[in-house]
């Protein structure tokens, strides 16, 4: 497929690294002066995501320290429901795929397909959240809430923090759909869509780590 016409500005810069046709002198690398707005926004958001990952790593570390501190209460092996975790994982991974599709649709400046992919992404994210919420409710109903043991505190904080991020992501996604609907593919909205995509995929990566560290190791213990 040919490069989309709207990206003619990036003709000399197929990978969008900020060269912008400046005859070989890259911006943002000293000689070329300040980088382009797109690079600056993306770079800043990457830094934010890294800091967010550092925050998650603290919750992971706390979970690793406390995972055996069940205080005579239920263990992960007794509590985790493999079927439901698999369903949650499937929802989230599929939503990452549809989110990627929305980015492709945006590249081709197709409003309809961008909105449709974002909508499906939102539905899958919502399904994930509902499954997780019912999971939490069931555990609390069995007397295994976060106040039962340090292990469960760490579990609810780590998984719940990811859930909060997904909720914030859904709020953002709704806002972005409204913005695309009202304002179309303006430059700043394109930048925000890039950031949203990065954010959503990062949540997926964190879920993969949660799936491995919490559920696989917990069920295998």
């Amino acid at each position: 497929m040919a490069a989309p016409a709207a990206d003619a500005a990036f003709a000399g810069d197929p990978y969008h690294v900020g060269l912008e046709g400046q005859s070989g002198i890259a911006t943002g690398h000293g000689e070329g002066g300040p980088a382009s707005e797109r690079v600056i926004v993306g770079y800043g958001f990457w830094l934010f995501l890294l800091s967010d990952i550092v925050m998650f790593s603290c919750f992971f570390a706390a979970y690793a320290v406390l995972q055996a501190a069940t205080a005579g209460g239920p263990t992960g092996r007794e509590l985790f429901n493999p079927g439901r975790v698999a369903a949650e994982t499937a929802c989230l991974l599929l939503s990452s795929f549809t989110c990627g599709m929305s980015a492709v649709a945006t590249q081709f400046r197709s409003r309809r397909w961008t909105q449709a992919s974002l909508f499906v992404t939102g539905l899958l994210g919502l399904a994930f959240l509902l499954l997780e919420a019912s999971d939490f409710r069931d555990m609390a109903a069995r007397g295994a809430g976060p106040d039962r043991s340090a292990f469960l505190s760490a579990f609810f904080a780590l998984v719940g923090c990811h859930g909060l991020h997904v909720s914030a992501g859904l709020l953002w996604l709704g806002t972005m759909m409204a913005q695309v609907f009202v304002k179309g593919f303006r430059t700043d909205i394109l930048h925000r869509l890039i950031c949203f995509n990065l954010f959503w995929h990062t949540l997926d990566i964190i879920w993969v780590a949660i799936f491995t560290v919490v559920f696989l190791l917990g069920l295998g213990a």
Partner: protein
């Protein structure tokens, strides 16, 4: 309706906080009334509160830092006078109040005095040194500032509504857990730091992006001024360390609010995990503060010696090494935890490695002066005072980095003296030096030299008079944070420190006088060309104060110390470089987003502290609404037309041309 908040939250029976709070409120109301009556409110709103200009935000940060420095200093006066009186006596501060005072002192000094002063200098100087027009995300920058102000406001509200934490500035559990601190004090601590921590993190992201992606053409990494390098190291540390603080405090908040068991005594909680986590933030925090301070002194040594910085590359390597190693030393804050000899040895050695990198810096500063033409202006005095003081602090630091020695000195006044020695000697001295150094750039006139020197000499004497006795008291076994004591052995040293703080108070008075005198004599102290100190880096290449767009055209950088080269060329050829081709400049538009967000964050924070759930929900919804409203705007830039740019820049060039002529005439005479 109002959660835990009742009329009893106001300490009617405690005259000291009540009177202090009332006085602060009266002063604030007086200032607001004066501003409104004089009709300055629209100006303040338009030019400062909603400003997204990095220079304005920088000035506001420094102002916030100085006001809070005064608040923290008043706490210090109370502690020193209490200890002076409380020998075999109860003194005048009851224990529950004294505990709040030392907690508030530490919290305020680190988070709301030192951090805002350092971040304020970063804000003002870095884009100018890089030769660019603003930071990467100007509105985010304003939001960062206002969220920091929110945190400071919440801490001060605790003075009259409720109480502050009684746990020490690092609130170790289980003392900080609900079972042992049932009041709202720890909650004030948690929410003011969680909210201002978001602001600090965003500052870190903003400046890391700015330095790595937005530099004038030709500004390679190896040409960046040393202050900018140290800021880069500092903001990278912020990005990596502040999320750890957020996570740790969030865990403590979950324990206190929702009955979690992260750090409790019961149900498998692990309180040493808190100590580990918080120092994994806390030690990098020391370098977040002190690295930019090193940068300030590097600029000053080089400028006032009339020489390029000695060992530029080794300075960069030392800075970045400290940036990395600072993440591997946190356990030295609690050698006494009992992690075992091997673990303690590893962390002790890592700590000593930092001293090596710092030693490299000290020698570089000394060699920068060697063979230079040294001018002893006020900033240079602070720099010299810093080198001497900081070496003493560093040596005592290496002493407590040795685990067996630390077992003796842990929790004693020796430790208190050590970290005040490095933080005052480096960060605070850098604050005063940096403010004196860049003040003319910000306001167009210098600070009064005579009073500046008085601040330095009295402040320096006061510092030594307070903290040298505390070293001795610590070696004699006096623990920190004593509300009263009975041992006559410590008495003379405590009294000496009490006298010392009176000297420091005199220094603070000199500082206030200096500001007043300088403002009154601003015409005589005017900096006409924008280069009052014979500077070397690009901030001196523009006028004082700089225009909103900083540079009419982005400077082309051809080497290290770029402004020095431009100046040399102008003096040799006896003319300025040719007039550039002026073009219209787009600047970010002002925005009240930051202020409004912080307003709702204050409401939400206050609501969380007092368990007023509806207000918290309302605050969060309103914050989201502000966010969407901001995202919805269609015009985010205003354009300065080319002839306006030309007019402003030609004025500045005329002043420089006059200086060049005068300089040539003076040279002949």
């Amino acid at each position: 309706m109002f959660g835990k908040l009742t009329w009893n939250a106001i300490p009617w029976d405690q005259p000291i906080p009540l009177a202090a709070g009332m006085a602060v409120m009266l002063v604030l109301l007086g200032v607001v009334a004066w501003v409104v009556a004089k009709g300055h409110l629209p100006y303040l709103w338009r030019e400062w509160i909603t400003s997204v200009d990095h220079k304005r935000i920088g000035v506001m940060y420094v102002l916030l830092g100085l006001v809070m420095l005064l608040r923290g200093f008043i706490d210090a006066l109370m502690m020193r006078s209490q200890q002076a009186l409380a020998f075999q006596a109860p003194g005048y501060l009851p224990p529950e109040h004294y505990d709040q005072v030392f907690t508030a002192h530490g919290t305020i000094m680190i988070f709301f005095a030192a951090m805002p002063i350092i971040i304020g200098l970063m804000n003002f100087v870095v884009p100018l040194q890089l030769g660019v027009r603003d930071v990467a995300f100007p509105t985010l920058n304003s939001t960062s500032f206002w969220l920091t102000a929110t945190g400071a406001l919440l801490v001060n509200i605790s003075l009259v509504v409720g109480e502050f934490a009684r746990t020490g500035w690092i609130p170790y559990p289980p003392l900080s857990e609900l079972a042992y601190s049932p009041g709202v004090g720890v909650d004030y601590y948690l929410w003011s730091l969680l909210i201002s921590g978001v602001g600090t993190l965003m500052t870190g992201i903003n400046f890391a992006t700015t330095i790595l992606k937005i530099r004038a053409p030709g500004m390679r990494y190896t040409r960046m001024p040393m202050f900018t390098w140290t800021v880069l190291a500092s903001v990278l540390l912020i990005v990596a360390a502040f999320p750890v603080l957020t996570a740790t405090l969030a865990m403590l908040a979950l324990d206190r609010y929702l009955g979690f068991h992260f750090f409790t005594n019961a149900a498998g909680g692990n309180m040493m995990m808190f100590v580990n986590l918080i120092w994994a933030w806390g030690h990098p925090e020391v370098y977040i503060l002190v690295l930019p301070a090193f940068g300030v002194f590097s600029e000053i040594f080089s400028t006032f010696s009339g020489k390029p910085l000695f060992g530029y590359r080794s300075m960069v390597i030392a800075t970045m090494s400290i940036c990395l190693i600072s993440f591997t030393v946190w356990l030295h804050h609690f050698f006494t935890m009992g992690a075992g000899g091997d673990v303690n040895a590893v962390f002790g050695i890592a700590t000593s490695l930092i001293a090596v990198a710092t030693g490299v810096k000290v020698y570089n500063w000394i060699f920068t002066m060697y063979g230079g033409t040294i001018r002893f202006a006020t900033p240079m005095l602070w720099a010299l005072g810093f080198v001497v003081t900081f070496v003493i602090g560093g040596v005592t630091g290496v002493l407590v980095a040795v685990p067996p020695a630390d077992f003796q000195l842990h929790n004693s006044l020796f430790l208190v003296a050590h970290f005040h020695n490095v933080i005052i000697g480096a960060v605070l001295f850098a604050g005063f030096a940096g403010i004196t150094f860049w003040f003319p750039k910000a306001f167009g006139f210098r600070l009064h030299e005579g009073w500046g020197k008085a601040v330095f000499w009295v402040g320096l004497a006061g510092f030594y008079a307070v903290f040298m006795p505390l070293y001795v008291a610590g070696l004699l076994g006096m623990p920190r944070r004593l509300q009263h004591y009975d041992l006559a052995l410590w008495r003379p040293w405590v009294l000496a420190a009490g006298v010392g703080i009176v000297v420091m108070l005199a220094g603070a008075v000199c500082q206030v006088i200096q500001l007043v005198v300088s403002i009154r004599q601003r015409r005589e102290l005017r900096d006409e060309i924008g280069d009052p100190w014979d500077g070397r880096s690009l901030e001196w290449a523009t006028s004082s104060p700089p225009p909103a767009f900083n540079f009419a055209v982005l400077p082309q950088v051809r080497g290290a110390d770029p402004y020095w080269q431009i100046k040399r060329r102008a003096i040799e050829t006896q003319q300025l470089s040719g007039e550039p081709d002026y073009q219209a400049i787009a600047l970010p538009r002002n925005s009240p987003t930051g202020f409004i967000t912080a307003f709702f964050a204050t409401l939400a924070g206050f609501a969380l502290i007092w368990h007023i759930w509806w207000l918290m929900a309302a605050g969060l919804v309103a914050a989201y609404a502000v966010f969407v409203w901001f995202a919805w705007r269609d015009v985010d830039e205003k354009v300065v037309p080319a002839d306006e740019v030309a007019r402003i820049d030609r004025d500045a060039r005329r002043a420089r041309a006059r200086w060049l002529e005068r300089n040539a005439a003076g040279g002949k005479a």
